[in-house]
């Protein structure tokens, strides 16, 4: 589950441009993105109500700084904005952000100046006080979302400079803290903000203001009249509807009952593409669905077991079987858009049963004493349960009985009762695309899912040093070290990068078709670029 991600990493401009081209070439979407840029420049028609469908349930929540499931990400983005925003190359930009300028001399003290004349939904003008309150809330150790930020910032480090300026003093140097500012959960809220469970009054600066919210059913957001980005938004209201499952979601889209369906099952893409009334867009920025093996529990204590399993799978087939081909090979690594992606140039791991079996027998496993484990997955996301089932089938067959794995799909309460629960040694999770460092920190600090690293490893210090390091070459060297350890000893099996697919009615205009951290390019940048062509 792509839980809240305070990103504590940064990358300098130049590297990002290299990264950009690599991503662009990899995804081959230069042309389309420029076309869309044109499309976006055409001023859209005003008015209309946009119905956005997403699979959700009573667990839906609304908090400017914290999300659990996809509906939460969508709702957060409708009403709240961050200081900066990633562009398609994961480079933080001021456009669409609330910050006018962000600067630092030492990587410890960061000065943030707000744009002029930004108004909250309630008409109050955005000031530095709100900024201070927001970052104190973000870094408040009592709040569960502060975990990843704790090593770098605490509320004491947040101070007001003048009416439009605030200062963040970090606990340690962070060369590119901007990435953190650009993370979609680091939104700016007014002084005294509380989440929906505590107060239904959800005031933000976003283009749409919350009107009503019923978890598991829907939320309605109406146009923010004095929105700062002139001429926007176009729509009168945005409605986010929760559906019990993907079948209902796609049925609703095809029945024209909703305009946009977020995260449609890949299996349905052929149908949706055939449908003249629909437009499909899949984001190949590098969403991952890791299989987590807990490295300090049997049978995975022995590193050879982990390696053997990585060798036993046939990644190409998995892409076919689970993604109907909508994915790219991954080598148990992540953040393909990052310039430091696969800096050790490891060759892609092919299926190698013999090698795997040697490792296993060396580790003392055999048909009579097989590797036994149960891989847990939630049953409501075919991308996860499907991979779990296919993975188990592959390793069992390929190992000829030396591995006896089972896959259990948990029908209810997976993320509370099963995921990372004590005693569970193998389970599924997923992450939205993001640069290497934030992903690393997410997996080490927010979610020590595989209990990596092993005792005695210095990878955490390495990470901290790399963060502070301004010189790209030195940083790259450190990253290479980190990736080596992950590659050799890590507990994640990441067979592929998933193309996250979304589909929408062709009445819906203004969506910028480019790769980005969030679907539909931040949902048409908080839906402010989207308009309806009636």
């Amino acid at each position: 589950m792509d839980q809240q991600e305070i990103e504590t990493s940064g990358l300098s401009r130049r590297h990002f441009i290299q990264g950009a081209s690599s991503v662009a070439l990899a995804a081959g979407i230069f042309s389309s993105s420029s076309l869309n840029a044109l499309a976006a420049s055409v001023p859209g028609k005003k008015g209309g109500s946009l119905k956005v469908g997403v699979v959700g349930d009573v667990k839906d929540l609304l908090d400017a700084h914290w999300i659990v499931a996809i509906p939460d990400i969508v709702r957060l983005n409708v009403g709240f904005e961050t200081l900066m925003v990633y562009d398609e190359n994961f480079k933080p930009t001021y456009k669409d952000g609330l910050a006018e300028e962000v600067s630092t001399k030492d990587g410890i003290n960061w000065i943030i100046r707000l744009k002029k004349g930004i108004e909250f939904h309630d008409g109050k003008t955005l000031t530095a006080d709100d900024l201070v309150y927001s970052w104190q809330r973000l870094s408040n150790p009592a709040e569960k979302h502060s975990k990843a930020l704790r090593p770098f910032l605490n509320p004491a480090g947040v101070s007001k400079v003048d009416n439009r300026t605030a200062k963040l003093t970090l606990l340690q140097a962070n060369a590119d803290f901007m990435v953190t500012l650009a993370t979609y959960t680091s939104t700016v809220v007014p002084v005294g903000y509380q989440n929906y469970a505590k107060s239904p009054l959800q005031i933000g600066t976003g283009p749409y203001k919350l009107k009503s919210f019923t978890p598991g059913v829907e939320s309605t957001h109406v146009r923010h009249k004095n929105y700062w980005d002139s001429g926007k938004p176009y729509l009168d209201e945005v409605r986010v509807l929760s559906f019990s499952d993907t079948t209902a979601l796609t049925n609703a889209l095809q029945g024209g009952q909703i305009d946009v369906a977020i995260n449609v099952p890949l299996a349905t893409l052929p149908t949706l593409k055939k449908n003249k009334k629909l437009d499909v867009y899949s984001n190949s920025a590098g969403k991952i669905t890791p299989i987590c093996l807990v490295i300090d529990m049997d049978p995975f204590k022995d590193v050879r077991t982990r390696q053997a399993l990585k060798m036993l799978i046939n990644r190409k087939n998995l892409i076919k079987q689970v993604l109907s081909g909508n994915g790219r090979l991954a080598n148990d690594d992540y953040s393909p858009a990052d310039p430091n992606y696969n800096s050790n140039k490891y060759p892609m791991q092919e299926q190698d049963a013999t090698g795997a079996l040697e490792l296993l027998s060396a580790a003392g496993f055999s048909k009579s004493k097989p590797v036994v484990f149960d891989l847990k997955a939630p049953d409501d996301d075919a991308a996860l349960s499907g991979l779990a089932k296919a993975f188990v089938e592959q390793v069992n067959t390929a190992s000829g009985g030396v591995v006896k794995a089972t896959a259990t799909t948990v029908a209810s309460g997976y993320w509370d009762t099963t995921y990372m629960a004590p005693g569970v040694n193998a389970f599924m999770t997923y992450y939205n695309p993001k640069p290497y460092f934030p992903q690393f920190s997410g997996m080490i600090f927010s979610y020590p899912e595989t209990h990596f690293p092993e005792p005695g490893s210095n990878i955490k210090d390495l990470y901290a040093k790399a963060l502070g390091e301004v010189n790209p070459k030195k940083r790259a060297a450190m990253v290479a070290k980190m990736q080596k350890e992950e590659h050799e000893r890590g507990g994640y099996i990441i067979p592929y990068f998933v193309n996250a697919a979304d589909s929408y009615s062709n009445k819906v205009k203004g969506i910028n078709k480019r790769n980005s951290a969030l679907p539909l390019d931040y949902y048409g940048m908080h839906f402010k670029n989207i308009w309806l062509d009636k």
């Binding site: 839980q3 349930d57 009573v58 667990k59 839906d60 929540l61 659990v68 569960k144 975990k147 929906y196 469970a197 009503s212 019923t214 978890p215 598991g216 059913v217 829907e218 309605t220 409605r239 509807l241 559906f243 019990s244 209902a248 049925n251 609703a252 095809q254 029945g255 024209g256 009952q257 909703i258 409501d380 029908a411 209810s412 309460g413 993320w415 509370d416 009762t417 995921y419 990372m420 629960a421």
Partner: protein, 319 residues
């Protein structure tokens, strides 16, 4: 007024049953393996926080005390907060009750007259073509599970064969249940097909019994017109047993529709229950099951009262 005494007596019995039901529900949900506090806070929490919440939820109290608290809160109309959303359950459930009620009403309004008519008519045309056809059809319909029937209908009417009806119902929050009529066609149809067979078959059976009865024969021998024979002598007596089945089916429509509501994404208490189960939202599960069971008990009570009122022998023998 003996009838009132009778109702009171049945009411008392009903309350007892409900109480027993609530105990049962509480026992089952108490035995629930995972820890509510854990469920609320998720794994992102400290032992202290957990402990505090357990205190707050009163999870350290003996089960009896917990049950008492829960039960009396509900008696006072306070159905508590959802574990997962931390919002008052009433906000979540209230509109859905309305929706389900509407769904039930519409389905009943169609299915009950139809089934009674069909039942009565096939009884009159006993063993003739209409009877054969209708009884076989109802037999088939009664046998097929709702979700199979529903999936079939979706295939037929909204996806594969024809695309004329929406496959799901969309009732916006705050909107009236009838805001999406086209979207309600399929669920209503499914429910009608699920309910009609039972009522019509019961109607047929009891109508046949009446037509065979001595007093209907006597009425004929008295030279009553066929119309009078049917409407005055046969039908009223035939309806008695049908009440029971109707009540059962109404109750089913009001709460047993978990599958149908989920299949069509219908925002009613059935799908609410399905969601709560998925999210393991204990208070919601407890209340919803209790409510649905309550409806069942109530409906049966109504049926009994109706039967008694409609049957002079019973009515006058009340003491």
């Amino acid at each position: 007024m003996p009838i009132l005494k009778f109702i009171a007596r049945r009411l008392g019995l009903g309350v007892l049953t409900i109480f027993a039901v609530s105990v049962l529900i509480f026992l089952v949900t108490q035995a629930f393996p995972s820890d509510p506090a854990q469920a609320i806070l998720g794994r992102e929490t400290t032992p202290e926080a957990l402990d505090a919440l357990r205190q707050e939820l009163g999870l350290y109290r003996p089960a009896v005390t917990q049950f008492g608290a829960w039960f009396f809160d509900i008696l006072q109309g306070d159905i508590g907060k959802s574990f997962v959303t931390q919002l008052p359950l009433s906000d979540y459930i209230a509109p859905r009750v309305g929706n389900s009620l509407f769904l039930m009403l519409v389905s009943a309004v169609f299915s009950i007259p139809i089934s009674i008519a069909v039942g009565a008519f096939s009884a009159l045309r006993r063993d003739q073509t209409f009877d054969k056809v209708s009884s076989t059809t109802s037999l088939v319909l009664a046998a097929v599970p709702e979700f199979v029937m529903g999936t079939g209908l979706i295939l037929l009417l909204s996806t594969s064969v024809f695309q004329i009806l929406p496959a799901i119902t969309l009732i916006d929050a705050g909107q009236k249940p009838w805001s999406d009529i086209s979207g309600m066609v399929l669920p209503v149809l499914t429910l009608i097909l699920a309910v009609t067979p039972y009522v019509s078959r019961t109607m047929r059976a009891s109508m046949i019994e009446m037509l065979e009865s001595d007093y209907v024969e006597m009425a004929r021998l008295k030279g009553m017109s066929e119309r009078t024979v049917l409407l005055r002598h046969a039908l009223p007596n035939a309806l008695g047993p049908v009440f029971q089945v109707i009540a059962l089916n109404l109750a089913y429509l009001a709460g047993g529709t978990v599958i149908v509501e989920r299949l069509f994404n219908f925002p009613g208490i059935g799908s609410a229950l399905a969601d709560s189960v998925r999210a393991r939202d204990l208070p919601a599960i407890q209340f919803l099951t209790l409510m649905i069971a309550g409806v069942y008990v109530l409906m049966n009570l109504l049926a009994d009262v109706a039967t008694v009122i409609a049957t002079p022998r019973l009515r006058t023998s009340l003491k």
